[in-house]
Structure formats: C-alpha cells, structure tokens
C-alpha cells in the first residue's frame, strides 16, 4: 500500500527538535537567570566561596529530590521523605558510637526498607500514595520523637561521617559530589536498562503498562525503595554537617524537595521528567532559599518573591507538549 502521507523525517527534525531541546535546557536556563539576578542584586554574591557554600547546602536537597523523583515519575508522590530523613538522622546519631562506619550503610538500608514498606502498602492496599506517605510522615515523626527521647542526639565522634564534609579538589564539597554521583547513577541505570520504559509507562498510563505485562507493582515499590534510600543518604549528609541527629531536623525539606522536582520540569502527574531536571530544580530552590535573604531581601518580601519566582520557574521549565492536561 502506498499512501502519499508526507513522512520525511527532515520536517520533524527541522521543526520539532530545537524547540524540544530548548525545553530540555530550561531548568539550566532558569538556574543561570537566577544566579545572574542575585549577582545584580548583590555583586558580592558571585564568588567561588559563595557558590561552593551553595552547592554544599544543596546536596541533601538534591539527594532527597532525586529519590522522590522516581516516585513522581511513576505517577505517585512521597510525602514521607523529609520525616524519614529526620528519623534517619536520629538513628545514625544513635548508632554511630557502636557501629562506626557501618552505621551509614545500615541507616540507608533501614530507610530503604521503610520506603519498601510504604510502597508495598500503597500497591497492596490500593491506597493513594499521597495518603500512605502522609500517614507514614506522622508515624515516622512519632517514632523519631520517641527513639530520640524528643531531643537532639549529639554525635561526639563524627569521624565516620566526616568524609562528607571534605572538599574534592579544594573547591567541590564532597557531599555535592556524592549527590551528583547519586543522580548520575540513577540516571545511568534508568537509561541503560528497561527501567526507564517501565517507569514512564507506569506514570503515563498505569493500566496500559500493566496489561503490557510491565511489573507495575514492583516498579512502584522499587521507586519507593530508592526514595527511602535517598532519604537515608540525605540524613547522613545532614548529620555530617550538623554533628547531631534530631527528630525534626529534615522535616522542613519536604516542600522544597517537591518544589525542586516540579521546578525541574518533571510532570507531577507522572511519566515525563528526569533526575537531572530535579538536580537543576534543587539548585534553583536552594538559591531561592538562601540567596534571597543573603542579598538583603527583607523577610516578608522574601516569601512573596519566593512564591512568585517559583511559579514563574515552573511556567518556564514544564514541557507542555508531554502533558496534555495540567491539573
């Protein structure tokens, strides 16, 4: 059968590609614009020390956001990441004296298991992830409060987590390097294995994915595991820079982490997005959190600006050709 439908791929590449590429770079562009704006507001802002500090600051947020991105890509949401990270700081602080260097992998493992439990509850009981993880949030907070005796657990000997506070090549904070490696690792695994297909299919259309034999439930539980593991790792970073663990230490990172994911341009409805986007998003959010007050924006205006800029940033970065209906 011959049908003269114009199929020259040339038309496709000429028109669609550059636009697509541009939306792919939007998170980076947003980041650059923000740095430029902050530098204009305070020329002293754009120094190597300042950027080093900002990247160190961003590390735990990057890790948290990267993990939760997988859950979002699957079409769900994980509201427990910050509470889980707080609990993990407590556990790490409690276990460091006995376990030393082993405490880090053990805490990450425990966080992974907690992620797995929530994921399993979500897929088996068919409760929306929003509710499971909201419940998880309160339960984990309660546990953290109780095991910590409702107080800070000091880390007297921090030698086992000190490595995270070193600098690579004198300038790059180790925690930031680790965060980038984590993001790269997740991205690489997704890229070279069928996982990427599975996750996107689950996020775009769970029922189609399931009927195509995609292990939807496993994929989702897996995403929650990674999300949990990342919360654990973020906790290690927090302990290394805070010299203590606390039952509410990371609690306030929840909304910034979700904001980082969305600002990166990942669709909150699932399917489209990437961990790299979340990395850029986390940097944008960090700069907003610390940059605005440091360049001298007064507290009340800071919040107003934060709200406006973050909405505008999302307006820039979201690739609408991939998401038909925005809810």
């Amino acid at each position: 059968m011959s049908i003269p439908v114009a199929l020259q791929p040339a038309t496709v590449s000429a028109k669609a590609r550059p636009a697509r590429r541009l939306t792919g770079f939007m998170p980076i562009i947003a980041l650059a614009v923000l740095v430029a704006a902050l530098t204009v507001a305070d020329p002293g802002f754009l120094t190597q020390r300042s950027l080093t500090a900002a990247s160190r600051t961003a590390a735990p947020l990057i890790v948290l956001a990267a993990g939760a991105t997988l859950v979002v890509l699957c079409g769900g949401i994980d509201l427990s990441i910050a509470a889980l990270a707080s609990l993990s700081t407590v556990l790490l602080a409690l276990w460091l004296p006995d376990l030393g260097g082993l405490a880090t992998p053990v805490v990450v493992l425990v966080a992974t298991v907690i992620g797995a439990v929530q994921g399993t509850a979500h897929v088996l009981l068919r409760i929306p992830s929003f509710i499971v993880t909201l419940g998880g949030l309160s339960i984990l907070s309660a546990v953290a409060l109780v095991v910590s005796g409702a107080g800070t657990v000091r880390v007297v000997d921090d030698s086992a987590v000190k490595w995270l506070d070193l600098y690579v090549g004198g300038y790059v904070p180790m925690s930031f390097a680790v965060a980038v490696v984590v993001v790269a690792l997740i991205a690489l695994v997704l890229r070279v294995t069928p996982l990427h297909s599975w996750i996107s299919a689950t996020g775009y259309s769970e029922s189609a994915a399931r009927l195509a034999g995609t292990p939807v439930d496993l994929v989702k539980v897996g995403a929650f595991c990674v999300s949990g593991a990342c919360a654990g790792l973020a906790a290690v970073m927090l302990v290394s820079r805070q010299f203590s663990g606390g039952p509410t230490m990371a609690d306030n990172l929840l909304l910034p982490a979700v904001a980082a994911i969305v600002v990166g341009g990942t669709a909150i409805t699932g399917g489209h997005g990437s961990v790299w986007r979340s990395l850029a998003g986390a940097l944008v959010v960090t700069l907003l959190r610390v940059g605005l007050p440091i360049v001298g924006v007064p507290s009340a205006y800071e919040q107003i600006l934060y709200g406006v800029i973050i909405v505008v940033a999302v307006a820039l970065t979201l690739d609408r050709s991939r998401v038909s209906i925005i809810k």
Partner: protein
C-alpha cells in the same frame, strides 16, 4: 584537601574599624511579637553605633538556618558579628564551627547543648539564655499560690525537642514536688503555639472539667491561647493561667488579672546585647581573653511578673547604657548550670 572556606587569622582580632563591622541578627521569623522585638532591638543598637543590622529569618526551619549561615560565612567575614537564635540545641554546633573557621564573632542565645562551651572557642564570644528550670518553677509556684496550694492543674508543653520546653517542664516538676497539694492532671504538647493551645485546652477542660484549677503554659503564646479557651467555656477568671516571655499581651493580662504570672524575657535587650558584645570584641574594646569565664555562657536576669510589678514591664525600655562595652555583662544572673 580540607576546607575551601577561608578564615581570618587570630591576630586580626579587635582590629576592625567601627565602620567596617557587619552586624547580623538571625531569628526564626518576624511574625511573632517576641522575635520581632528582638530584631527591633538589634536595629536600635546598630543605629546607635552608626551601622545597620542585616536581618535574617529562617521560618523555624533548622536546615534553612544552617544554609543561611554557611552562605553568610562564604561572604565577607572579616568584621562579621552575628547574634543568633539557634533553632534547637542541635543547630548550635555547626554554627559555632562555621563561625570559628570563618573568624566571625558569634553570640548565641537560648539553645545550646550542655557540653558545648564558648570558652573552648575563639570567636564564639558568648552564649546567653534564661534559666528555664528556674522560670518554670517560679510560675509553677505562683500558680500553686494562686489556687491556694490545692487542686488540679494542666500543663501545656512547648516544642518537645527544645531545651526551653524541657527545662521549663523540669522546673514545673520541681515546683510540684514542693507544692504537694497541687496535682498535675494532664500534660499535652501545644508546640509554643497559640492556636494549638486553644484546642488542646478545650479538650483538656472537657476531659477534666471542674478539677482544673490552673493552667501552666511553657510560654505566653500558649497561655494566651488557653485564656481564649477559658473565655469560650465561660471560665475566664475562674482558672489561673501562667506563662513565660512577658510578651506585651501577657503583661497586660497579668495587669488586668486574667493571668496570674509570667516571666520576663527581654527580646529587645537580647537583640541588642548579642550585637553589642560582638561589636565590642571586633573593634578591640573588649578582648575575648579578658572576658570572665562565667560571662562566656550565662543566664540573664529574669523577673517574675505578677500583678504587683506588671506596670513596670508593660513597655520594656532598654537603656542604651546597657550596651556600652563596659556594661554588656551587667545583666548576668549567673553561670550556666
């Protein structure tokens, strides 16, 4: 390699021109009266030495506080003076470490782990707090007296994982040991919040009914919330209420008799004194090594405010003389215990 952030050398201590000094005050937010008065106090002090205070607020978010501090310390730290309210005990150590490395002068207030001591540090000049055990006990005693030494009370705790909440409650327990006629019917956390205190109090009032003769609150905000609850239940004036902080509304309530007692924490003074101590050291008018050990970490004077003396505290007046370098330790009530 070790650290990217550079620091000042110790030799530079006290070598700052007064006009080069950078004054920074950091509190949780500008949306409660206590902390707003703190920042106002800081502004007033800065103005008195011809400078301006940079205000930082972190929304009660520990991570955000750390992030702001490290960004601040990544800038120009040569003559930096910071007067900081750490969000919780755990937040003090990294702030101290960062300031030390950057050579910034630091005064902290309220929260500090017991085993962390300014005396072991170079640029952490001082830590100021109020004796929570003492104030918790003072208002506990006042409450016991108000209900005639006999009857049930309920307690509203602050944010459970802060030293302020724990110390004050420990003070209440000490008071209860003394006042054997007073019975603690119930205790709930209301997180230093007026709104939460309102609902919790209403629930506790229905739970314990007539037995509630007094309400002990770990700060004034909660005490004011409890007052509203009493008013809504038609119990205003029939149940004694005590708090801590001496926020204007509470002092007025004490004056008017709806509240029994509160304890002064002088926000405006706290906002000024931290900057003053740092400024004096930075400009060389005060040498860290000359500061008495007892003044490196101290309880500031506090006063129990009851109907008798409430008038004196309605508008707390800070005296500029308090901030002169010779007087900065005038309000020391004693070393930390």
């Amino acid at each position: 390699s070790e650290q990217a952030a550079g620091g000042n050398d110790a030799a530079a201590e006290g070598a700052c021109q007064p006009s080069d000094v950078r004054l920074v005050g950091q509190v949780r937010n500008e949306s409660n009266p206590y902390e707003a008065s703190w920042l106002a106090g800081g502004d007033a002090y800065a103005k008195s030495v011809g400078l301006t205070q940079e205000r930082l607020t972190y929304d009660g978010d520990s991570t955000k506080q750390q992030e702001q501090i490290s960004q601040l310390l990544a800038g120009d730290t040569k003559c930096l003076v910071m007067n900081v309210l750490p969000n919780g005990d755990s937040d003090t150590a990294p702030i101290v470490k960062g300031a030390d490395q950057a050579g910034a002068y630091l005064v902290t207030q309220w929260n500090k782990p017991a085993d962390l001591d300014p005396a072991d540090h170079r640029t952490w000049v001082s830590h100021i707090t109020y004796n929570g055990v003492e104030s918790g006990q003072q208002i506990g005693d006042a409450l016991a007296t108000a209900i005639g030494g006999n009857g049930g009370i309920i307690a509203l705790q602050g944010i459970l994982d802060t030293a302020a909440a724990k110390d004050r409650f420990a003070g209440l327990e000490a008071s209860l040991k003394k006042n054997t006629g007073v019975k603690l019917l119930d205790q709930q956390a209301a997180n230093f919040s007026r709104a939460e205190a309102l609902t919790v109090t209403k629930t506790l009032l229905t739970k314990h009914g007539e037995h509630v003769k007094g309400i002990w609150a770990a700060n004034d905000d909660m005490a004011l919330g409890a007052l509203e609850a009493l008013q809504q239940q038609g119990l205003a004036g029939k149940v004694a209420v005590v708090g801590i902080d001496a926020v204007p509304d509470a002092v007025k309530a004490v004056q008017g008799g709806t509240m029994t007692a509160t304890v002064s924490s002088d926000g405006a003074w706290q906002g000024g004194i931290g900057l003053a101590i740092g400024y004096c050291v930075a400009t060389g008018k005060l040498a860290v090594k000359d500061i008495a050990a007892a003044n490196r970490a101290f309880f500031a004077e506090q006063f129990l405010i009851t109907k008798d003396n409430a008038a004196d505290f309605v508008s707390p007046k800070t005296n500029p003389a308090d901030f002169e370098c010779a007087n900065v330790f005038n309000r020391v009530a004693g070393p930390l215990t």
